[in-house]
Point group: D2
Chain length 154, copies 4
């Protein structure tokens, strides 16, 4: 299980006067997906922070294709995309639960910070956990490139 | 005057438990800059919406370089980057007002929607306003490519 | 079924630099509870708005007793507290799902607005739905006064 | 100078699909006013936290009278309302800068927490600063009761 699939319902407060979800909320939903993926991998992010390990977003790329609306039932699918010694990239797809097509594709790069908020290497245990996830993903072929996103900001 | 420079102070609610500003807020600050740039160009976005013209974010690319903190005095500089018949791209730099270096570089693509929220061409008047801004910018050389962002999602 | 019990997990973005949930989020969670209660009563709020009926918060009273933290599993319990021809009051309790005690007690007053956003009477059908809910509640004795909140702003 | 008057412009992201500002934002604006008032009193709240002193909202009472809209120019006026050894109450009025009447009246109670987040007495220096502000206020008669709010949650 190396893909997280997290369902949630759109909140009224997430809409704006255009009548649809404000785009900044997609980053928050992706963060929920990231938390859930780490939990599935056995690595509670809340616990990581208590141990002085922080993953901070250093870059994000969003492609918003269709609007989400209040009370819609959505899901965010989260995958580990790329793993390096000091950073990790996750990709996300936000979609309706009823298969009405993709709402958004997102990628976020995160760097590892220590308790002094200085950049550092991913702790060995976290790296190993993520590495296993990635291998499994490659074998299962579930990590596909998100068109138009994987050549983004480096 | 085709660059908007908007100052603001970081709100407590914009921080998260990492002790710095949550990354989703950069998109909101950029939106403030965009509103301000349009106002400087003589095109109130609030008025545009009342006339049935909507600019919806279709893509965003963020590069977060340094953390912003509660009560920091920041500014967002906003430029029109690219203009097409149906879309427009703005670029943004978020920085401390005291010149302590760049916090974030952002680009957002916006598409034009009509009152039925269908994609449409930018109204002629808006297109002309934006075109003049861009010409002025080119003459003044104030639009520089943001390194690492201008080859992003298309 | 006239009490809504809605479970949710605290999002990272909901925390602030104090290391706990920012207090403004309680109003958003209550809104989620309100949406859920209306759904259980058979009155979709999304559908009400499409029909030109709006319920706008005119007052809110919050008592925050204990802090919620990132990744906590919480629930909001929502009850219809008071029903008038032009307004309705809901009360809420936010608590941990594991029974570790109450985090917050909230009440919100909502007034009915028509499509021109003018105050109006609750539509007969909505009033009737809510009235039934309240009768059931009284019979079951599930609506207890929230100490310290029910003498608030009028 | 013991009243803070802070101007700001409504952000697009602060609206919801009702076409007006979502009510939770009033708490965030009040927080901005509170920060500003403390600064005018010579007590930076950011600095207080660095010294291990935290003021946490324990209760809030909001009366929302009129809706604020995107791009509106508003101000929040903040006053110290009540001072005790372990808590302090601020009151706020949110209004248009052009004198079109009050949008909202709010009160928040804050309790003092130490670095372990346990309730404690206000530090002597902070208490003294706030006490002077209150005396000045009483002399100047600028603290009037906000009708309908000052009998709220205790």
């Amino acid at each position: 299980m190396i893909e997280s699939v997290l369902e949630f319902r759109v909140r009224y407060a997430e809409t704006d006067q255009m009548g649809v979800v404000h785009h900044a909320n997609y980053l928050i939903w992706c963060e929920m997906g990231r938390t859930d993926l780490l939990r599935r991998l056995g690595a509670s992010y809340a616990e990581l922070e208590r141990q002085g390990v922080f993953l901070a977003v250093s870059a994000a790329r969003l492609r918003l294709r269709r609007a989400a609306r209040y009370d819609d039932l959505l899901r965010v699918r989260t995958l580990l995309r790329r793993l390096r010694s000091r950073s990790v990239t996750f990709s996300y797809v936000v979609e309706h639960t009823d298969g009405r097509g993709t709402l958004a594709e997102v990628e976020t790069d995160l760097i590892c910070l220590d308790s002094a908020r200085s950049a550092c290497k991913l702790p060995a245990a976290l790296l190993e956990t993520l590495r296993r996830a990635r291998s499994a993903a490659s074998l299962e072929g579930t990590i596909d490139a998100v068109p138009g996103l994987n050549t983004g900001v480096e």
